[in-house]
Amino acid sequence: MAGTKVSSRKLITTVLIYTALGIAMVWALLPIIWMVLSSLKTEANMFSMPPKFTFKPTFSTYAFMFTEGNFGGFLKNSMIAAFSSTAIALILGTLGGYALARGNYRRGKDIAFWIISTRMTPVAAAIVPLYIIFAKFHLIGTTFGLVFAYTTFNLPFALWMMMTFFAELPPDMEHAAMVDGATKFQAFYRIALPQVTPGLVATGILCLMFAWNDFAFASVFTSHENQTIPVAASLLVSQTGIAWGQAMATGTVIITPMLITGLAVRKYLVRGLSMGAVK
């Protein structure tokens, strides 16, 4: 008797859990599904009221974007900027994060907070001084300049995350390696680093996301040649109307590479973040 009661209760709980998750998925995914569907519609179908759920898909918007619209180029620019700034942030952030975690700095916590606080400057306020520096060094409109600008928010983030990951790693194994004759750097490279790989991946994904999604910096620091996708998306709003078909297609294009990357490292992502901060 008691057994069936428990199992029926369990069943109800399970049903409730999946119902709630189902609602959450609809909330999260419906806009994206609608975006993808709309990108496959003709303009006339897109604006029909009531909305059309069945229609003959057309890829003409994509064809236009990748031939005349130069979206392939924008996609490439976005990738170069996002991936290189992420690489820089990860390399410097991992080295620095390890040093901060193991270095016994007297005001370690204050340094750590200063690092993360450099990421708090409002974007609009940060742009003016950065523009002055960039103009001096002729970096406006260059991809290098954009990567540099992205480093301003990705490096502190990576440093801080990596510091947390290393800090929760017990140092015993590194000590043992050093007793066996390894240098401090070898201990870091051979022992500590492999253990935080999941954290490194997770940090990388989030850095990638921050750079990938950026509009404010890219709109100021790029020129037509090295424009990124969010900037190209903003250009679809012009003085004579919004190119909705292209806007929806841009949205689809913008999530695809990130979706692939996300899928590829999904397991690391969930595991990786779990290492941070929870000591």
Binding site: L100, G103, A125, I254, V278
Partner: protein, 300 residues
């Protein structure tokens, strides 16, 4: 506050050797880059906040503390802070509740966790500019899917054109995009919880709510604060979605301080005043961050 540890005075040579430690060498490149991208901008902002750029943008004149006084006196700034508080507190609150809630659901789900996580995190990869466009597209009263659904229920209000609905709408767009980030971080925390206390509680016949209240939440407290800290840093900085959907209106009801800063800096090119606003926002964020960190380590 960490106390400086007293150390013996080293000799000159020792000091040099101490400076070139492996740690310092590893830290140096990051610190150099960070210093170069943050110290000049910071000093420049302080300098600019004391200058008046309104007459000649490339030849500012000294303004004393006028910009800072305007910051206190300008009722529009005050108004924007009010909107910001509502926007940030409601947005962060919803993201926290929903984010943690979904994380707990996923944690409790017997199967399909990875699939759900993957789908659930998709919105964070939609760039905020596109999220704004998408929000507008869905809520537009002439052709929006959501507007149409609302109209079926007899709601014909123009969402972005009405004071009562514009702010909730932009908050919901933010919640849509960023709740998954909170979920992701919190879920990873949940997954690394030690299993012993939970098993012990199970043996003692604890209900789920008891386990949640006394074991799960206290143990994942710190990761939740980390998630909140990351989000709270960005919620004031980023204005892309509001910029595209309502541009601050109607009747200033969605003009958060970041948007006001953008106006002052780049529409009015009043760089001095913008610097003062920017610095004040920085101070607020730093205090907020400090508070979060104190809460986080307060439980040690």
């Amino acid at each position: 506050m960490p106390q400086p540890q007293p150390k013996g005075a080293p000799s000159a040579g020792g000091r040099l050797a101490r400076f070139f430690t492996t740690e310092n060498m590893m830290l140096a490149p990051a610190m150099l880059v960070l210093a170069s991208v943050s110290i000049f901008p910071f000093l420049y902002l302080i300098y600019a906040s004391l200058m008046d750029f309104s007459l000649a943008i490339d030849n500012p004149t000294f303004a004393g503390f006028r910009n800072w006084l305007r910051l206190v006196k300008d009722p529009l700034i005050f108004q924007s802070w009010k909107v910001t508080i509502v926007y940030a507190v409601t947005g962060l609150g919803l993201e926290l509740i929903l984010g943690v809630g979904i994380a707990l659901l996923l944690y409790a789900a017997p199967w399909g966790r990875n699939l759900f996580v993957t789908l659930w995190m998709l919105p964070i990869f939609v760039a905020p500019v596109v999220a704004g466009l998408l929000g507008w597209f869905l809520l537009n009263s002439s052709y929006g899917l959501y507007a149409w659904v609302l109209q079926q229920f007899g709601v014909h209000t123009d969402i972005f054109g009405t004071v009562a609905t514009a702010l909730p709408a932009v908050i919901l767009i933010d919640v849509w995009e960023w709740t998954p980030l909170i979920t992701l971080i919190v879920l990873s925390g949940l997954q690394s919880l030690p299993t012993e206390p939970l098993e012990a509680a199970e043996v003692d016949g604890a209900t789920y709510w008891q386990k949640l209240r006394y074991i799960i939440l206290p143990l994942s407290f710190r990761i939740i604060v980390v998630a909140l800290l990351i989000r709270s840093m960005d919620i004031m900085r980023f204005i892309d979605t509001i910029f595209i959907t309502t541009a601050g209106g109607p009747a200033d009801s969605t003009k958060i301080i970041g948007l006001r800063l953008f106006d002052v800096a780049f529409r009015f090119m009043d760089i001095g005043f913008a610097a003062a606003i920017g610095l004040s926002m920085l101070v607020v964020t730093i205090f907020l961050g400090k508070a979060f960190i104190r809460v986080m380590y307060g439980r040690e």
